[in-house]
């Protein structure tokens, strides 16, 4: 493991933030010392660096948490370790998970494992790149608006977001609390499912977790007979990348071959998901990120002596300087937008309308699943992985990379991306979306579909 991490460190992928041989040996010793080997005995995992661990620093890809070490472990880390899994490394991410390309990390951008000029997607780009490069079989990411499914699609791996409430968020650094979900990458559906199964379940330390029967082992059914797959027309626009469309068409044909009934459906409000998300997520982020002020943890950025006299050198100056220097440009933009949409006179116009739109987006899904649809199938992203720098100049263009993944996040639904083929050498992902807590159905279908697809073959 150490030699693989060393090798990937030299490759320029820039996917890892913290790992050490000593920590790896301690993890291995811990797994070996278990009386009965757990279901993930000895499985090394990449952990997105916004999930807290006591052994490594947790930076969230930000200067404002440089050198910070959490005094406690996330619930998911405790559960995975109890099952024998090992934390292999902390992985790079967009600062505070805000981004769609992993270009917004204070520790440099992550490269796409197949093409160094391209992005791996984001914000969980480090874990995605490490799984895709074969360094680890699975990894943890987090989703607020698609930050696991989108990079899974770009990197040609499996990415699963559970239902909101299925997995504890205790120890996941908060960004948008009504949206945040610990999520998982795997090279195969079975790998991702086995990690998710261990992580899931009620946690007294996260009041949003829901008491549901545990997820059992995922077994692929013999066919998709009796299954109805809905294709929402809004997710197949005329300007969809032809390679992405061809990949999705292949997967749809395979589902038909397997006996599924495939029907067209409409989710008319899904088109509002990105603007809705970019009101709700920044509003929640502005509140959640208020805690980073240089008073209790993290570095304290002082003003220069010259300007200290002008600005008073007081407590508020400490807050402003620490936050002004500690946060990167995308995080600053979102804090400002969040503060703007919540400020007096604008709250109803933006936040109120976004909440109403969120309800409409959610009820579209409820209606579709209530009409006999078992699962929805869509492209995960409108294009394959784009080039680094292509969208950094225009925040809205970057946001639109999440157009097909945002709606399920706002509705709190389980959703996943599986590789369906390649176009011009780049992976294409297809997305399955299920009704709340129907992960088992979604994963079983994906496990069968996965066997019928050739993820490394060119689609046409």
């Amino acid at each position: 493991m150490a030699s693989r991490l060393e090798e990937v460190g030299r490759s320029g992928l820039n996917a890892t933030l913290a790992w050490s041989e000593a920590a790896l040996l301690a993890e291995a010793a811990r797994a070996d010392a278990m009386a009965t080997p757990g279901p993930l005995h000895g499985v090394p995992l990449a952990v997105k660096d916004n999930i807290v661990t006591t052994e490594q620093p947790t930076t969230c890809g930000s200067r404002i948490l440089e050198g910070y070490r959490s005094p406690y472990n996330a619930t998911v880390i405790e559960r995975l370790r109890a099952a024998g899994a090992m934390v292999a490394c902390k992985s790079n991410l967009d600062e505070f998970a805000m981004g769609s390309s992993t270009e917004h990390s204070a520790y440099g951008r992550v490269q796409h494992p197949l093409d160094p000029e391209r992005v791996p997607g984001g914000s969980s780009g480090g874990s995605a790149a490490l799984v895709a490069a074969g360094v680890v079989p699975a990894g943890l990411g987090s989703e607020t608006g698609g930050s696991v499914r989108q990079p899974a699609s770009f990197c040609g791996i499996v990415g699963v977001k559970p239902t909101y409430g299925r997995v504890s968020r205790y120890g996941l650094v908060a960004f948008g609390s009504s949206l945040d979900c610990v999520s998982v990458f795997g090279r195969t559906v079975a790998d991702a499912a086995s990690v998710l199964t261990v992580m899931a379940g009620l946690d007294s330390r996260d009041a949003t977790t829901v008491d549901r029967p545990a997820l059992g082992p995922v077994t692929a059914p013999a066919s998709l007979q009796g299954m109805t797959i809905g294709l929402p027309s809004e997710y197949f626009p005329a300007d969809l990348d032809p390679g992405v469309k061809a990949g999705c068409d292949t997967a749809i044909a395979r589902m038909r071959d397997l006996g599924a009934r495939v029907v067209k459906v409409s989710l008319p409000h899904s088109g509002l998901a990105v603007p809705t998300y970019y009101v709700i997520a920044p509003a929640e982020a502005a509140a959640n990120l208020a805690r980073y002020d240089g008073a209790r943890y993290g570095p304290r950025f002082e003003q220069d002596r010259a300007s200290r006299a002008d600005r008073g050198g007081d407590l508020r100056a400490l807050y402003r300087t620490t936050r002004g220097k500690g946060f990167g440009p995308e995080v600053r933009r979102r804090i400002l937008v969040g503060t703007y949409v919540l400020s007096a006179g604008y709250y109803d116009a933006y936040y109120g309308r976004a909440q109403a739109a969120r309800a409409r987006i959610g009820s579209d899904f409820t209606r579709a699943f209530g009409s006999g649809i078992d699962l929805l199938f869509t492209p995960t992203t409108p294009t394959p992985a784009f080039k680094a720098g292509e969208k950094t100049g225009d925040p809205v263009a970057m946001y639109l990379a999440d157009i097909f993944v945002c709606p399920a996040s706002l509705a709190g639904l389980p959703a996943m991306s599986i590789p369906v083929g390649r176009t011009e050498g780049l992976p294409v992902g297809g997305q399955l979306i299920a009704a709340p807590f129907e992960e088992a159905k979604m994963l079983a279908t994906a496990a069968l579909l996965e066997r019928q697809l050739e993820p490394e073959a060119e689609v046409r």
């Binding site: 943890y297 008073g312 400490l318």
Partner: protein
């Protein structure tokens, strides 16, 4: 809808975020682009003006269960003093609060 430099300075003050004067023009342009983009949600409401007020939508459990109000040990690997920028005799040390300013 257009965001002005004055608006950006105002929300930056509310958010306790230092913005250097040199950053202001680009930040204003980007904020204007983002706020202009999300403003399309207003159009959505106009289309459906007759619809009954939609209930706020938050996924997750039906109701947040009440928990017993008991003190539980925090079980920390190391104390706050180990991560605080400045910590003396059980207190986080910060500069004094300066004179209040207009906002």
């Amino acid at each position: 809808m257009s965001v002005t430099a004055k608006d950006v300075e105002h929300v930056a003050r509310l958010a306790e975020l230092a913005v250097e004067p040199g950053e202001l023009p680009e930040l204003t342009a980007q904020m204007d682009r983002i706020v202009g983009f999300v403003a399309q949600l207003g159009a959505d409401r106009a289309d459906e003006a007759d619809e009954a007020v939609v209930e706020r939508y938050v996924p997750g459990p039906e109701a947040t269960p009440l928990r017993e109000d008991v003190v539980r040990p925090a079980d920390l690997a190391f104390p706050p003093a180990a991560i605080a920028p400045e910590f003396v005799e059980g207190f986080f040390v910060v500069p004094k609060l300066g004179p209040m300013e207009e906002s």
